[in-house]
């Protein structure tokens, strides 16, 4: 009934913008930036992956992202579970409270950590009071992980919640009725069934942590570089475009690889269940 011609025409402007303002520039920058060609980028990427000063940046980026994802899962999943089983009025409020930080920009959200973690900050004061000497968490990996957990917890909560809210609460009751303790019912029934949502959450958090800029910039500084802050300094300070492209390429591949992997895992999960 619907004719194809006019419908295709509706797609064209959007596709044109995607190709001209997204796919082409990104591909050009990743593979053949202004001062280089694919060979230069390949050489730079090789250097990045073998340079004893840069390899730790990649390792640190992955470590920070993995830690952030793990902590977000550990905290976010139980929160999502609690919200999904709370009475409707409370669930709505808690969910809104968890979502609200997403409305604030990352500077607003991260800035407070400087006050908390800085030498004269709350942690410093508590440390001094306990006689631990000068506790300086700012510009450490711990600070970056804390900041990123704050940033991405809402995403994990939302992803897990969407899975948990769809789950028939009777399943958990059935397990309890059959003699399973709350912990056993959670491990054997609730969690396995909400795994797809948790997996989506993990992917979002991991990709977000790998690409986040504000938080590592403010809380890690130049001391604890991640790929994103390295990329920025290569563009802004050293103005070395092929080298920047190499970092961008590694970052992009890392994110795409993890998304692809979780997509595969999700598929395997859905065929076995």
């Amino acid at each position: 009934m619907t004719r194809r011609g006019p419908m295709l025409a509706l797609l064209v402007p959007g596709l044109a913008v995607l190709v001209l303002a997204f796919l082409y520039p990104v591909a050009a920058t990743l593979l053949a930036p202004p001062d280089g060609d694919p060979a230069t980028v390949a050489r730079e990427t090789g250097a990045l992956l073998s340079d004893p000063y840069l390899l730790p940046v990649i390792a640190r980026t992955i470590r920070v992202a993995v830690l952030t994802t793990a902590i977000c899962l550990l905290l976010g999943f139980p929160v999502a579970y609690l919200i999904s089983r709370a009475p409707a009025r409370w669930a709505g409020r808690l969910l809104a409270l968890a979502v609200f930080p997403l409305m604030l920009n990352t500077v607003v959200r991260t800035y407070g950590w400087i006050v908390v973690l800085g030498g004269n900050g709350l942690v410093g004061q508590v440390g001094a009071a306990l006689g631990l000497g000068r506790v300086q968490l700012l510009y450490t990996e711990t600070a970056i992980v804390l900041g990123l957990v704050q940033l991405f917890l809402p995403l994990m909560i939302l992803s897990a919640y969407s899975s948990l809210a769809q789950q028939d609460p009777r399943l958990e009751e059935a397990a309890r009725g059959l003699g399973a303790s709350p912990g056993r019912a959670f491990r054997q029934v609730v969690f396995p069934l909400a795994l797809p949502g948790a997996l989506v959450g993990c992917t979002l958090v991991f990709a977000g942590a790998v690409t986040a800029f504000t938080t590592p910039q403010l809380l890690g500084g130049s001391r604890e570089r991640l790929l994103s802050t390295l990329l920025y300094s290569r563009v802004n300070v050293s103005l070395d475009w092929p080298a920047a492209s190499a970092v961008a390429l590694v970052m992009t591949v890392l994110v795409l690889a993890v998304s692809a992997l979780s997509g595969r895992l999700g598929k395997i999960g859905s065929t076995t269940s």
């Binding site: 619907t2 295709l8 303002a21 997204f22 990104v26 202004p34 403010l218 994103s228």
Partner: protein
Amino acid sequence: MILRRPLLSLLTAIAFVLMLGPVAILIGVAFTAGSTLAFPPEGLSLRWFAAALEYRPFIDAFGTSVLVALVSTALALALGVPATLALQRGRIPGRRVVENLFFTPIIVPELVLGLALFQQVMVGLQITALGTLVIGHTVLLLPYTVRVVGASLALADPRLEEAARGLGAGPVRTFLRVTLPVMAPGIASATILAFITSLNNVPLSLLLTGPGVATLPVEMLNYVQSSFDPVVAAVSVVLLVLSVAVAFATERLAGFTKVFGR
């Protein structure tokens, strides 16, 4: 609930303190009478709010941010809504592939997109920072509009349109009287979500700056890195208040968690 699930309640408390604690502390810092980032604040005053309002770059950057957010939201809707319509209602060959293509800007790191636009568009084509910002944000928001409007359209029964046609309405009338009203809530949600997403963006906007042109979050980031006074805390509180207002307005219009909880 709390008494019955102590571990769960403890983890939830930790999570909420982590998510909101640093923001709450910022409120305290903003009202300090002292001149350092100290908590608890050293006396109460509004001096940093006054300082923020007098700091020209923030005012300009706020204007830039709102302008970019408005224009790119409008453009993303203008491109995204027709595309969604085609994807959901036209029998497009290779629909999944095209749809995924529209979502790719979400997967590619924003910093990389920013770098690409900086190199290829701003430097390469000599387009102004403002123009490049609008282009970049439009690309960034396009997936949101396609997904959110698409979700509302996918829920609606396509037979509504067939029913309208069967009752004698032509294609244009069917679109205006049936399809558009069905899409309206989705478009409203997409508008709010896209606007806030643009307003808050940092990584994409980071490199797209020019003389006197930068978005507010980027200007705030630059300020924080060079000075240690609480001006940015005051700006943050202003943004926080605005966000609360938008959140309540959104709740009344379309449901806050429905819009931002995607």
